[in-house]
Subunit: 530 residues, 2 copies
């Protein structure tokens, strides 16, 4: 492992504090996968969890030793100081930290006097002794020790002298960094920076910062802390975390590198950030926030007709950074609000030169508006948009096949077994085809039936694959009744494309998206529609 | 209308700048509905759109005159300064502003020298003349005029003297407020405050602030501006807006009132904020961000077992504000990470005293963990959790009815018409029932069939209603293959309850959630399971 620049720490706590997020459940293989992604990004430390406190985290550290060959990051084990009244060496949870195999141990300690009394149920002095003993013990055992001072800012408000004493005690006992935690997330940047300056004046400790987003200021709070000298920043991938989430490490790091001129990631890390953010979201199974700063799908997307025409002149007048710096792209959105300029740019992106064809442009804009008013979204379905564009350029709707009818049956039999069966009746190249497919669900059965029916004529459909399937119920608050929107992502091993279907009936909406997906796959396979 | 306190403005731009968000499409009735919600919250100004620039916004202002009886807010019409080389009085877009009926006009003007040259294609002097003329003309016509200085902070970096000259020109011509816009959203709080102080020293203008969240600092930037004297803050409901969104007005207002001690909403407004945030999300059809500060469903939700036990001692040790202040609630989450303490608290919330029953608690925790590992989420399905709890308390699974089999057929016929038909075979009270229902989709048909089958025995099922239906595909990155999770919200006119089903097959998952929903509805109707 190359020696790390230790002067500034990027410390990730996705696997521990981030995992507290509602709806987020990580298995041990998930945690290993996330750790590999974070290592690739180049964070300095990855907090893996709390060994001893739950079996999953113990297992994670066990497997990490053999399966996780980190290139850049060091693993940190999280845990509490020894319990009141026992020796650190005798506390089984401290033993679990010792035995975790992680080179770094991050201890969490109370720094708020009322938490010591009410939650820990011990004296203020015993809490200080617990900190000193545990830090010293782990140091003697060869660990590097960081300390999370929990509820620090609220504690400082309640009893500043005690909160500072906690920092001093930990540092004197040998903790390398004391991370001040805004555990309840209520701080604002100005007030937070003032407290840090106060602590800095009264101790010699190296300080870190750990923020939550309950006041919508987690990233700004973290930057404010760095501005006053903090050199260890904690955060989580995509801002995962309990309640409103933790400081989003991606936003923090991008701001530090691109706005504050500090190099905090190894070379090349920042440019991989968008890809890694999405890869981690795949593992966590949390739908990526498309509006996430820097890495979101929409972070550099332009919709307004007003902007779209000017963006053609000089893109940098309309974006705060060059998107490629964080591995993201500028996107033009086709939508209700789009004028001809956006559609023209979008067409160009897809390889169609519409610059001279005002009439087609206007027709496409009209069709897009009409479809979106019915619940379609073409922004996420480039392939459906391209088919629409081709229809308008050709002046008619052209497809490789026409549908006579289809039928789907899903049945739970008395023995509890499930059957999903679909029959499609199609015409293609003058022939009528009837095919039946079975699947693990209705859409899977429909997909198989349509490909089975067409495979004789178009054998390459065998390589077509349904990659992702998304369903959204659009509520009936527009007086039109609820409709279901289905987005399908398909692939042929080389590329992926998105299609959309909308209907009251989820199966019919799925069929429409599926039919577009197959049509687009055939176009990609070289089957023109002329 | 009571006279507004004009010393501090809360200015909402949801209907104009917020509507630029990808995926957000508002009809005229939608815009009227959002305006009513914002008025109820108590914002000072509601920017309704750009009359004349698009027919929808023109229509909005026309209908607002008769249909929108605002109690607290004033309506603002947004538009550009006159075009180069024409008189303000002769510009048709300026005329549209005059004729909008809105008491306030907010003009957008370029303040970045390169934007003037490249996007506006005129001279720096003509741009100043356009500002002065248009402001003076609208003032003479009796309007109050605000000015949005677009791309102000980037412009200040490019040519500070010119950017300041724009502010001075507008103020001299009679604009009441010059809102400095971080249009590209790239600023950080310290740098932004410095610029504002610089402008403040060189003009006598009243300054406002308009931020975007591209650096994840929109709220902090807005607060930093207020800290240096800005008295007009712009933002959008739920932070809607292009790319990464605008400053979230709800977070800004809550921070100002609860953290900065400034009263910026009329009495009672803040306590309605969570309800209004969700009501607006219903209109916009954007899934509410459950992690949104202050108003999100998870903003005061506690998951960790560690916290849950201490929360029992003193909730205020674990939250930055009292949730009721913003109309939100503390919630205990039942989840994978929950220990017995969380389940006990959750049971109490539902009316079950489990405090003495450690064995049942442990069994429930085990069941929850097992279900969540298979993709269930009980956090959003209180009714399914309560049924699980009852099963464990009873020591067996008890239901009002048992299923023999069911079958769903969805068919598109050759004439294009759609059929959805479901048949269920059930046992209840010793009887066997077979019923067939039709619907506008497979789940609707199943719902009708099961209620039709049971209605003879349980007539009150007629009042049961499926209120919401959500589908999530949990991707197969866990090595288990993709499963579908269905959440159903049901109601009986008095209360609503959530149930969950998980299966590879979307119809089977829907059935499971539906069966729980009906069971819970019967329990509510007084049909015990003993």
């Amino acid at each position: 492992m190359p020696p790390l620049d230790d002067r500034f720490h990027v410390y990730d706590t996705t696997l521990r504090d981030g995992a507290q997020q509602e709806g987020l459940n990580l298995s041990v293989p998930d945690k290993l996968a996330v750790a590999r992604h974070l290592d690739e990004l180049g964070v300095g430390f990855i907090e893996g969890g709390w060994p001893g406190a739950n079996p999953k985290d113990t297992e994670f550290f066990r497997r990490a030793r053999t399966e996780l060959a980190l290139q850049k990051a060091q693993l940190a084990a999280f845990g509490a100081t020894r319990r009141p009244g026992v020796k650190a060496a005798d506390d089984p949870l401290v033993a679990a930290l010792r035995e975790s195999g992680a080179p770094v141990v991050t201890l969490v300690a109370k720094s708020h006097d009322r938490h010591v009394e009410l939650a820990l149920r011990t004296t203020l002095d015993e809490n200080l002794a617990m900190i000193a003993d545990t830090v010293a013990h782990l140091r003697a055992e060869g660990h590097r020790v960081f300390l999370d001072a929990e509820h620090f800012f609220d504690g400082y408000r309640s009893n500043p002298a005690y909160a500072v004493e906690v920092v001093r005690t930990a540092a004197d006992a040998g903790a390398d960094v004391i991370a001040l935690c805004d555990t309840n997330g209520g701080m604002l940047p100005g007030e937070l920076a003032e407290v840090i300056v106060g602590v800095d004046e009264r101790t010699k400790a190296r300080l870190g910062i750990h923020c939550h987003d309950d006041s919508a200021c987690a990233v700004a709070n973290t930057l404010a802390a760095v501005d006053v000298g903090v050199s260890h920043v904690q955060g989580t991938a995509n801002g995962y975390g309990e309640r409103c989430g933790n400081a989003n490490l991606f936003s923090v790091v991008a701001n530090l590198q691109l706005k504050k001129g500090r190099t905090v990631l190894p070379d090349g890390g920042l440019g991989e950030m968008s890809r890694i953010a999405h890869a981690i979201a795949e593992v966590t199974n949390i739908t990526p926030n498309s509006h996430q700063p820097y890495v979101g799908m929409s972070a550099f997307a332009h919709k307004a007709g007003l902007h779209a025409s000017a963006v053609k002149v000089d893109p940098m007048l309309y974006q705060h950074i060059e998107p490629a710096l964080v591995g993201n792209d500028m996107r033009m959105l086709v939508s209700d609000m789009a004028g001809r300029a956006s559609v023209e740019l979008k067409g160009k992106e897809l390889g169609y030169d519409l610059s001279g064809d005002r009439e087609t442009l206007s027709r496409v804009v009209e069709r897009v508006k009409e479809l979106e008013s019915r619940g379609y979204t073409l922004e996420a379905a480039d392939a459906s948009f391209e088919l629409l564009l081709r229809d308008e350029l050709a002046g008619e709707r052209r497809r490789h096949f026409e549908v006579e009818s289809w039928r789907v049956i899903v049945e739970r039999r008395p023995d509890g077994s499930l059957l999903s069966e679909a029959t499609v009746k199609l015409y293609a190249k003058g022939e009528r085809m009837v095919a039946t497919g079975e699947g693990n669900g209705p859409v899977n059965a429909l997909d198989r039936a349509v490909r089975l029916g067409l495979e004789r004529i178009y054998p390459e459909l065998a390589s077509l694959e349904l990659v992702d399937y998304k369903v959204r119920i659009l509520e009936g608050s527009h007086g039109t009744g609820a409709v279901t929107r289905v987005l399908i992502e398909s692939g042929d091993g080389e590329a992926e494309w998105g299609t959309v279907g909308v209907d009251e009936n989820i199966i019919a909406a799925s069929w429409d998206a599926l039919a577009d997906a197959v049509t687009y796959g055939l176009l990609r396979g070289g089957h023109d529609l002329d």
